[in-house]
């Protein structure tokens, strides 16, 4: 019985993972069985996550903190009900990992006009910041001279 576990995310049946390589990149899947120390049998399920049942190496998985209480080789419906019960999708969308991916995706997809707008926004922001800094520093210097 571990009171002070160093590891919190385990490879186990029911562990929800994010695929980080390949055509299903960014999608969640559930481990339904473990082949060996390098590979697991995984499925979305396809109806829910568009991830079909497949053997996938752990190198291509990021374990999330979510775990479903399912049996080995659980049916699609089982997994979907557990997903909905646990509100996994909502919780996942609040994770910073997910938010960062969305952010990166948006940034990657911006066109030249988008980057131009971004540049202007950055300049405006830094102008605001520097003018405030100037005000604060002149205030403090006035105070110090006294």
């Amino acid at each position: 019985f571990f009171l002070n576990m160093v590891f919190t995310k385990f490879v186990e049946i029911g562990r929800v993972c994010m695929i980080n390589y390949g055509k299903d990149e960014g999608r969640l899947c559930t481990i339904i069985d473990i082949v060996d120390q390098n590979k697991a049998l995984v499925k979305g399920p396809k109806k829910l996550m568009k991830v079909s049942i497949q053997i996938i190496p752990f190198k291509r998985l990021n374990l999330t903190k979510f775990k479903l209480d399912i049996e080995k080789n659980a049916s699609d419906d089982d997994i979907i009900t557990k997903f909905k019960e646990g509100k996994i999708m909502n919780k996942w969308m609040k994770q910073s990992v997910y938010k960062k991916r969305v952010k990166h995706e948006i940034k990657r997809k911006t066109n030249d006009f988008g980057r131009f707008k971004l540049m202007n926004a950055k300049i405006a922001k830094s102008k605001l910041v520097s003018s405030k800094m100037k005000k604060m520093s002149t205030k403090s210097s006035v105070g110090k001279k006294k």
Binding site: V11, E25, V35, K72
Partner: protein
Amino acid sequence: GTNMLHEYQVIGRHKPTADNAAPTMYRMRIFAPNEVVAKSRFWYFLSKYHKMKKTTGEILTVNEIFEKNPNVIKNFGAFVRYDSRSGTHNLYKEYRDTTRVGAVSQLFMDMAGNHRVRARSVQVMDVKEVAAKDCKRAYVTEFHDSNIKFPLPHRVQRASERRFQRRFRPTRSS
């Protein structure tokens, strides 16, 4: 993932002659990347057992055999005969995979890695699905735990696409 290997059923017989209008048919299950290689291996094995070869025989059919249930992980026991540098030996190895074809792919990679044996020197004598309680190898039985659970300690984040994989990466030390 997609397997490079396929399992074929090859049925062949000696060419029918005047004396023997219906020669015995022989069937083999061959693991090969394609039908061409499957037919070739069929003759390789058949000519070892019977007095016939490609020119004196005929192949009746080559059918691909697909896995009955590729969505469940099974244990496979493989009996292998291989030529090493100094002799020929038999081996029994076990693999966990969802398909026979996947297990045999693992077998070939395993033989190459552990015994430096090329596919040409490997003869897969038998591949049997083995129940979990009958498995002999520790590296397979250790995954038969129903409550199996382990962390991934040494996490190496890899590039999300192949084009971002670089052998030498710049260090941004400042």
